[in-house]
Amino acid sequence: MADAALTVRPRRPRGQSRREAWAHRLFVTPSVLTLLILGLYPLLFIIAAALSESTLGKPFQSWVGADTLAAVLGDADTVAAFLRTVVYALGVSLASLVLGVVVALALQSAVRGGSLVRTLVLLPMFMPPVVVGTLWKLVYNSGGGLLATVVGFFGGDRQAVAPLSSTSWAMPAIGLADVWEWTPLVALLVFTALVAQDHEIVEAARLDGAHGFRLFWSVTLPSIAGVLAAAFFIRLVLAFKVFDLVFMMTSGGPGQATTTSSYEIYQAVFREFDVGKAAAITLVLAVIVTIVTIPVALITRRLQANHE
């Protein structure tokens, strides 16, 4: 009897149960509404626009089915922009990750007197991308920019230094500006993880003779791997969005050398008034971003779970 009494769930009055249920619904309503407004509405809008003839002034004029999507996927320039965007995003994200770790380790070493250094290092992240684009455009300016001046100082041909006019170098040049701008974010995340490390383990490893790279590789890296993966994921998403730098530095040129998918979307909407085409590119890009980021997200979760 005593066991049976233990398994019996205490009954609550029916009215109280209903009130609690409604209270729960009330509390989750803002979240649900936010999700619907921020996620579902744009998704439905984009799908509808991609499947219809839609201009800036008159969306949803007529149903065109998958015609626009087919046209987008059949356009060599647009497909090239998708590939360019993926390669760019992966490249700058990896570069930011490596540099971010290096900077974070340096910051950790300078933790005692380094508040000013930390602030300075983080400064690029706080700058508006438009300013970053302008700044780096000036750096690359062949008519007296920093790069040309340095090359000239060492006896090189200043006028030959024009990376933004080169189909080979324009994208890396934008990537360098991007890495400069967002590496501090990675450094900040990694630095936080380093500070939160269990110092007893590190000390124990040191006592066992681990130092330098060996200590980092065998002890530090495994303990911050989850954060690294998360930082890479965030950086990857930021890199896929790149628009401002392209807009400010090259307008997608020379030729199509720096035309990313985000820039193509902007061009379709605001310069061609073609919302349908922009929506179709957006849908395809969303699929690509999802395909690329899901493995990263899963790795992040696994690493974080392992660490826990």
Partner: protein
Amino acid sequence: MSASHPRSRRSRLRLTVPAAAVAALALTLAACSSGAPSAAGTGSAGGADSLNVLMISSHQGAADYLAKRYKEETGITINPTIVPYDQIGNTLDLDQQSGANQYDAAAVWYVSIGDLAADGSIQDLTDWIDSTPAIEKDDFIQSIYDPYSLVDGKRYGLPFDGDSHVLFYNKTILERNGITSPPKTWDEYVQDSKIVTQNEGANGVYGNVIFGQKSPLILGASFANRLAGFGGTFVDAQGKPTINSPQAVQAAQSLVDALGSAYPTPAETDFGAGNTAWYAGKAAFIENWTDLGVGSQINPASTVKDQWGVVPLPVGGSNTTPRASLVAGFTWVVSANTKKTQEAKDFIQWATSSKINEELLTADPQTGIDPNRSSTLNSTSYAQKYPELAEVNHTSLNGTLPWPTGKNATKAAEVLTDELANLIAGQENAQQALDKVQAQWEQLLG
């Protein structure tokens, strides 16, 4: 606890996939929306004694002048909102489509009026123009009146900034290099440019400025100038694309031939960079609007005062008659949803009048406005103050090369610009680039 892990991972995966998809979409949307430069000013519906107008940054001087003068004459306040030249069409379109309806009138790129009309963002002004003799429509320069206002038999605007590119040359640089007269053909232009760059390139002085930044109003203009010179057209009399004609291919090749002697670097050169080089005396030739001559005389940055000359754009191939290419003309339109239609019409009638156009042409500081009327082109004040500009305008505005202006014209301009960008980047040759444009234009323009 361990048994619950696999289920947890599956559920995480189920959550991760849609969450990542939604996140990606939201981020893409954010990227799309955040890129649009916002208007420099803020409009407001205002009272009956004010009007909100949309203008481009190159017309800042004109905006200030018009606001001041209209206030003096009528007591009505003009609130100009200034946007970049390639943003005015979409800003007006979005304003009307969103229901914000901030703008009563706008001075838009004439190529966009077909799309704005198709989107229902601007008003059909045909009846008003026909029934208002005071507009003096016959006084508009006839070679620009139709392209700047007419779409499918209806008139949507009044010409404001009569656009015509001409060729400016630096007399001092030509003299230094033994060039005795400005070029009459594009081949001569290329040859003269090479001479200057070879002789003085090391000193930072170049034969020409090529506006090559990837924008219809910039790179598109550089090509259109040559297309006009070689006697080509964008479309034929029936509106069918002719953009890969032999003349067009010659024009594109001539553009490529000029790149080697251009002020560095052509692919990055926009109006700001190019005009700065000209004012600094760093280029022998520059294709530009006639108001560059005004700037050369009165702009504080100019070092070329009284050192420049101007001629009509060169010719090429079998064509021997200079023509102006209507590259970046602007026309006043009345927004579709304004509650001040009559006030807006009154304003654009005044702003495009002979009297105001003449004032804008000779104003100091410069306003960036070219002649829109025959009477102002022939006016004494313009001829006295800028005789060379008046003469060259006379010569080149007799026959003009307009861009297509109907529905999809803005998209067609972008298509052309993209391929021209590939051309000057060396990724395609002239024939390949224009064949691709022709194929796309046949779908867009019919």
